[in-house]
């Protein structure tokens, strides 16, 4: 991304009317409806990856975790305590 594009994105008129926490709550609802046992954990991990703009494999590499672990975390299959340290730090304690 060049400097002009980055500056344009910082301009107040470009400010999103949606805060990340609200999106997180909505995504957690979707994960819960899909049968995920840990929707808040999934939503937190998805939020960090979503705002980073990274695809799953690049994000897993960056976080130093197995891709499969990331997939399971995003599907709500892993509790916060079971997450590897680097992912656990992205999820606020309940």
């Amino acid at each position: 991304m060049n400097g002009a594009a980055a500056a344009r994105r910082r301009h107040p008129s470009m400010r999103a009317p949606v805060d990340t926490a609200a999106v997180q709550r909505r995504v957690a609802t979707t994960v819960r409806a899909a049968g995920g046992d840990h929707p808040e954990v999934a939503a937190s991990v998805l939020a960090v990856r979503g705002t980073s703009g990274l695809v799953p494999d690049a994000f897993a590499r960056r976080a130093g975790v197995e891709l499969e672990v990331l997939r399971r975390a995003e599907a709500g299959e892993i509790s916060r305590d079971q997450l590897p340290g680097s992912l656990r730090r992205m999820v606020p304690p309940e």
Partner: protein
């Protein structure tokens, strides 16, 4: 929700462009909703405000606007696979969907028309248009209750359009009326087929129905019906 699949997006490409985000949503990557809301939420909010104005709502609180934009993002997620880069921006392309979101919200917050009538004045409590979980069940009830719907079912039988195909036709019509820009994509997933096969099924069903309605005088009353038009 299925786990996020690996996407082929190149690392050098700006991951927050409309095309990149829609490609990730189309691939089933739920995380892209965050990017959509954060980087393009203000544009979606513009469409939402515009639709609100058409409903006579000039101002909306930040919480309500946020909720509506989120609903619109979810709608865009649902139709991402049907969107093609190079055409209209997704929120304009799918503005019918966004309009449906806004209409629902306006409907929920609108004053009831019959406020001046007490419940005691009513002879029969009005029923909801559909109380069933599935379209098949709702259609079966309407066949029993409404002579016009019964006539449609009879015409379908005469046209050798089976019940599933008829409900599919109705579902397609409902999606179109609700502003779905590509009902074939939406229904293909629901009915476990491809969009092309879905279009063929709809086209074949409509053609058969149209033929029966045009040739059989019993079904002449149905000629004005959108379903066979």
């Amino acid at each position: 929700m299925s786990p996020a699949p690996a996407s082929p997006t190149e690392p050098s490409v700006d991951p927050f462009t409309v095309e990149a985000i829609m490609a990730r949503l189309a691939a089933g990557d739920t995380a892209a909703i965050f990017a959509l809301a954060e980087h393009h939420g203000h544009r979606i909010a513009g469409v939402v405000r515009r639709q609100l104005r058409t409903c006579g709502v000039e101002s909306v609180g930040p919480d309500d606007l946020q909720s509506l934009v989120l609903d619109a993002c979810m709608e865009l997620h649902g139709v991402a696979r049907a969107w093609r880069p190079g055409g209209a921006l997704p929120w304009w392309w799918a503005q019918g969907r966004i309009q449906a979101v806004v209409n629902r919200w306006v409907g929920v917050h609108a004053d009831p028309l019959e406020d001046h009538r007490s419940r005691a004045d009513r002879e029969v409590e009005p029923a909801a248009p559909s109380v069933e979980d599935s379209l098949v069940a709702a259609f079966a009830r309407l066949v029993a209750e409404d002579p016009r719907v019964r006539l449609v079912a009879e015409a379908a039988r005469a046209a050798k359009v089976d019940d599933v195909a008829l409900v599919c036709l109705l579902d397609y019509q409902i999606q179109q009326v609700q502003g779905d820009p590509s009902p074939a994509h939406t229904l293909a997933e629901r009915y476990g087929t491809t969009p092309d096969a879905m279009r063929q099924r709809i086209c074949r069903g409509r053609r058969r129905l149209r033929q029966v309605v045009a040739t059989d005088p019993r079904f002449a009353d149905l000629s004005e019906l959108e379903l066979v038009a």
